[in-house]
Amino acid sequence: MCVGISAKVIQMKGNVAIVDATGAKRSVSAELLDDLKPGDYVMVHAGAAIAKITDDDENESKNLMEELLGE
């Protein structure tokens, strides 16, 4: 469930964030998250930003694998 796409916040308008996913822009609800600001990356689902993204996937995987193999 839950198709998500990561997108960059380019503008805030009250409870609404304008996000950009490689050129596709749309306004999404920012009500589920605190303190969004332009430049943040968010996970967008069904017209709402459901989470802030704090890292990229390759880097995350690298860290997790190091941890796993280091055990």
Binding site: M1, C2, G4, S29, A46, G47, I50, D57, L64, M65
Partner: protein, 349 residues
């Protein structure tokens, strides 16, 4: 990509590991990336009940069709529901008979539509797990001055489903976006209190391979485990704001899962204070008992008790163009994914 993870996975030769990917988007991405084809025989991926479309009971479609054709409502919906078969008609077939059915990207777009079309009675089909539910109910806040907008709800929550499925697998691949909302404490509790293992996974090739590799390694260690393998998105506490929004408007209820049956406290319904937005109350819908097609083995498929190709009508009477069961409708449905992506290896069977 993640060579080490691939290496761990492909070199595994131990006893059978059964991993249930709960999330339909995981099912979809796993097929799309061809991950099933590179798994050794000793690793089995089971597609669980995590496609909200697939587990939505047929009654719900019948209710929506009744609202559209008999009550004259405009149905606004995610595209996913349009072709799901009801007892007699899908929404697409109802539309061909004159029903007004408008596909939206976001529930909030349905409210916008209602604002612009005040002469129409607009109903939004509110489905989804914890990921989608906050957006669904935010509509009530947005629609506060409208009298022509309501929700037909079939929202569900995950934890009780984990409970129901926990014996079907050795570890869960937990749905990343559900846990972005509800956090990971529930996973730790299941590990600690019930010995249920699992890994929260993201959706890219790297993330999925990493999560599976972690499962393979950890299962071999023999202890119940939990790892959040999607920390860039999923935080321990989830989104408190989103949780708060859900429970402002909704309260738990028992829910029917198509093919599985009733699971206590696994659904959400609108609180009585918001009955003015509850389409069942606004339009005084009668209790509808939809009739599932008896040929369909979706229930067993969803529990991992059989594979789609064990269903006698899979790929014959039942295809994405002419779905019989719900699992064939959504591109995330297990049967649909098996049919569409074949998973070359299995598809060759």
């Amino acid at each position: 990509m993640n060579k080490e993870a691939l290496e761990i996975i492909q070199s595994y030769q131990g006893p059978q590991i059964r991993i249930m990917e709960v999330c339909g988007t995981h099912t979809h991405e796993i097929f799309k990336l061809g991950i099933r084809n590179i798994l050794p025989d000793s690793i089995d991926l089971i597609s669980g009940p995590g496609c909200p479309v697939c587990v939505t009971p047929i009654d719900f479609i019948d209710e929506a069709v009744m609202l559209a054709l008999e009550k004259g409502c405009t149905i606004t919906t995610f595209g996913d529901l349009v072709r799901v078969p009801g007892t007699k008609l899908s929404l697409a077939q109802a539309r061909a008979r004159g029903a007004k059915v408008k596909v939206v990207y976001s529930p909030l777009d349905a409210v916008e539509y209602a604002k612009k079309h005040q002469d129409e009675q607009v109903v939004f089909l509110s489905i989804g797990f914890e990921t989608t539910t906050p957006s669904d109910v935010l509509t009530i806040k947005e629609a506060k001055d409208l009298t022509n907008f309501s929700l037909l709800t079939a929202n569900k929550t995950m934890p009780m489903a984990y409970e129901a499925m926990k014996d079907s697998c050795d570890a869960f691949l937990y749905p990343g976006h559900v846990h972005a909302i509800i956090g990971t404490k529930i996973c730790e509790e299941m590990r600690d209190q019930e010995g249920v293992s699992g890994v929260v996974a993201g959706f890219t090739a790297s993330e999925l391979l990493t999560a599976i590799a972690i499962i393979v390694k950890k299962v071999q260690q023999g202890q119940p485990f939990f790892v959040n393998a999607y920390p860039r998105v999923v935080k321990s506490e989830g989104s408190l704001k989103a949780q708060d929004i859900i429970y402002t408007y909704m309260e738990p209820c028992d829910a029917s899962w198509r093919g599985i049956g009733k699971i206590a406290h696994s659904g959400l319904q609108l609180k009585d204070a918001y009955k003015a937005y509850d389409a069942r109350k606004v339009y005084d819908l009668p209790a509808i008992k939809g009739k599932d097609n008896p040929a369909c083995r979706c229930g067993e498929v969803l529990r991992g008790a059989c594979k789609p190709y064990d269903c006698p009508v899979f790929g014959k009477g039942c295809t994405p163009d002419h779905p019989i069961g719900a699992c064939m409708v959504s591109s995330e449905g297990t049967c649909s994914a098996y049919y569409l992506y074949g998973g070359l290896k299995e598809w060759k069977k």
